[in-house]
Amino acid sequence: MSNSTILLVEDNRDDIELAMYALRKNKIPNDIVVARDGVEALDFLFATGVHEGRSEERKPALILLDLNIPRLNGLEVLRRMRDAPETRRIPVVILTTSDDENDIIKGYDFGVNSYIRKPVELSEFTKIINQLGLYWLVLNQSSPR
């Protein structure tokens, strides 16, 4: 499990740092890759563009996806990866400050596995990260590669 990658799609540096803090706090040992916008996220997923030549082993086991990101928003990233056979079954958790109903509905329509609203309190967020790691990386049986 330790070698499986978590792709964190997040554009804000502070948010990235807080996420990393929470992951660290929960002692999640996985390889964390951060994509700063939608295009970069797709590049990493499809091993194209700046991530051309990404090894097959680093293909993410879980994607933590923010919605409000530059260039290509989170929902669009989700739609495109769900369209592609090689990324269709990767678990995606939307982690966002938005609780807009349209976002939630579209998220599920495009095949998201879970929709989590980031709580304002960091301790809460840390707990959630812990539960997510436990659930998706340990409890949940992923689709075979």
Partner: protein, 537 residues
């Protein structure tokens, strides 16, 4: 000149009237008929009367004559018979016969004087004239001779008289009377006809012609009959008015009245025409205005469309704004809180006690602001979310909310009364949100009440269902009630009762979007009752 003209006129008129009188039925002719008829009857009657009188007089004349014969002839007849002088007797009775009307005289000898041979002339009858068996009148007288103071009947004289002469006379008289009376009647009739024509008929015709030619469009001068000069000229003042004058004056009055009425009618007609014209103009104006109005309407429609579009745009902007608030405003809050927590956890030793307290204060502020953002989002969503109106049981909704509140606050002992089956046509989520706000408020503001009671129910007033949520909690001064539903308006300090001040604004929006109204009745420390209505259908 005038007189000649008048005469010529009269001649012509009379000729005409006579012609008319004989050719056709006219008043004159009928008048003549009646005059002739009546005159004939009267003439006949009086003629008969006169003839009867004449007859009676003649008859009595004959009788008188016979009486005279008795007195003047019988003496000498007696003398002649005494001497039996028959030729003398004959002479004498022939003298009688010569009297008028005497038809025959007959002397029958009964006796004679002593000087004469007895029986010699006895039973002799001397007759003169023509004796008939049934005479008109016959008188018999005894012939008496006084001889030495002794009356002796010598014979009887029978005198017959005839009425033939009387009849002849009467017949002649009848003829004469009839001819004269007939002539008179005829002349009088003609004269009457003429007079009637002059006095009446021609005027009647004038009136008729006047009436025939009477034209209301061009009223002629009033009717005047050509007759006045004889009658009125004589005396200085006006002669008394006769029937024709009255007819003419009545006729002229009638014409005047007609003219007046006609003129009134014309003026009314003209008014009507003017009215019609005005109406037509008004209709045109209305048409024009309608066209203008429809133009304005279409303009208005365009404007409404434009406004609606603008509204939709601004709505979209508002939604975008809500989104950005939910995301962009919350995100930095998260960061502040997050790093604050990291500060407290990882750098507490650097901060010291005061520093830690300050960081806590910062985090409290963040929490508060976060709650406000949440409420604000809820409020703005109330306005934009599309309603799905269905029948829902508000009682079930309320009991569900209360059980959740009890779970959250298990130590509270609150008496709750819910009127069963409060069913209304509402949007489920919105109504639930409104009820949540109201019930949470009731729950919250009864926190310091000794035996808290919350009830929810409905009543019907003027055909409208009014729902209410009542509590016996803190209540408030009604002086502030007006602003209660404004966003961010609070009546209690955060220390007393927490809250963002957006709940009731949200409730009001939801109720208004359901076509209802909300109001409140409360008093300080004596609870509050929120009333609301919903659109019935």
């Amino acid at each position: 000149m005038r007189i000649i003209n008048a005469a010529a006129f009269l001649r012509a008129k009379i000729g005409y009237s006579l012609k008319r009188a004989f050719l056709g039925e006219s008043v004159g002719l009928r008048l003549i008929k009646f005059i002739i008829l009546f005159s004939s009857v009267v003439t006949l009657f009086f003629t008969s009367l006169q003839l009867y009188w004449d007859y009676r007089r003649d008859v009595s004349l004959i009788e008188k004559r016979m009486a005279e014969i008795e007195q003047s002839y019988l003496g000498s007849l007696a003398g002649s018979l005494w001497q039996m002088d028959l030729p003398q007797v004959r002479l004498q009775i022939e003298g009688i016969l010569r009297l008028p009307d005497i038809q025959s005289v007959e002397v029958a000898v009964l006796d004679v004087g002593p000087a004469v041979e007895k029986h010699s002339g006895k039973n002799d009858v001397v007759t003169v004239g023509v004796s008939v068996s049934s005479p008109d009148i016959m008188k018999k007288y005894p012939i008496i001779y006084n001889f030495h103071g002794k009356d002796k009947v010598l014979g009887v004289v029978a005198i017959q008289a005839s009425f033939d002469a009387i009849y002849q006379r009467l017949q002649d008289k009848v003829l004469e009377i009839l001819i004269t009376q007939g002539m008179k009647t005829f002349i009088v009739s003609l004269f009457t006809l003429f007079i009637f024509s002059v006095l009446v008929t021609r005027h009647l015709r004038t009136i008729a012609e006047f009436a025939n030619q009477f034209n209301l469009e061009q009223p002629s001068p009033p009717l005047r009959l050509a007759r006045a000069s004889i009658k009125r000229g004589r005396s200085g003042q006006a002669a008394p008015r006769d029937e024709l004058d009255q007819v003419v004056s009545a006729f002229n009055n009638l014409c005047g009245g007609l003219e007046q009425t006609y003129n009134q009618l014309r003026s009314v007609n003209a008014e009507l025409k003017a009215d019609n014209e005005a109406r037509r103009r008004a209709e045109e104006e209305i048409k024009r205005l309608n066209i203008e109005l429809s133009g304005m309407n279409s303009q208005l429609e365009v404007q409404v469309r434009r406004r609606t579009h603008a509204l939709e745009v601004s709505n979209r902007e508002l939604n975008a704004f809500s989104y950005s608030v939910s995301h962009d405003l919350r995100a930095p809050l998260r960061r502040i809180d997050g790093f604050g927590q990291i500060l407290l956890e990882d750098c507490a030793h650097l901060l010291g006690v005061d520093g830690q307290r300050y960081v806590e204060r910062i985090r409290n502020g963040v929490r508060e602001m976060n709650e406000m953002v949440d409420s604000f989002l809820k409020l703005s969503r109330c306005a934009s979310i599309e309603l799905v109106i269905e029948s829902h049981n508000l009682s079930d909704m309320a009991s569900d909310i209360f059980s959740r509140l009890r779970e959250k606050d298990p130590d509270r002992q609150v008496q709750i009364t819910i009127q069963p089956d409060l069913v209304a046509l509402v949007d489920r989520r919105m109504m639930r949100s409104a009820l949540e706000n109201l019930l949470e408020n009731a729950w919250k503001y009864t926190r310091h009440t000794l035996s808290p009671v919350i009830s929810i129910g409905s009543c019907v007033k003027e055909g409208k269902t009014i729902y209410y949520v009542r509590d016996n909690g803190a209540g408030f001064d009604m002086a502030y009630a007006e602003r209660l539903f404004s966003p961010f308006y609070r009546l209690h300090s955060a220390e007393e009762f927490e809250g963002s001040g957006i709940g009731l604004a949200t409730v009001q929006r939801i109720i208004v979007r359901h076509g209802g109204a909300i109001w409140v009745d409360a008093s300080m420390n004596n609870g509050a009752t929120f009333f609301f209505t919903l659109q019935q259908n």
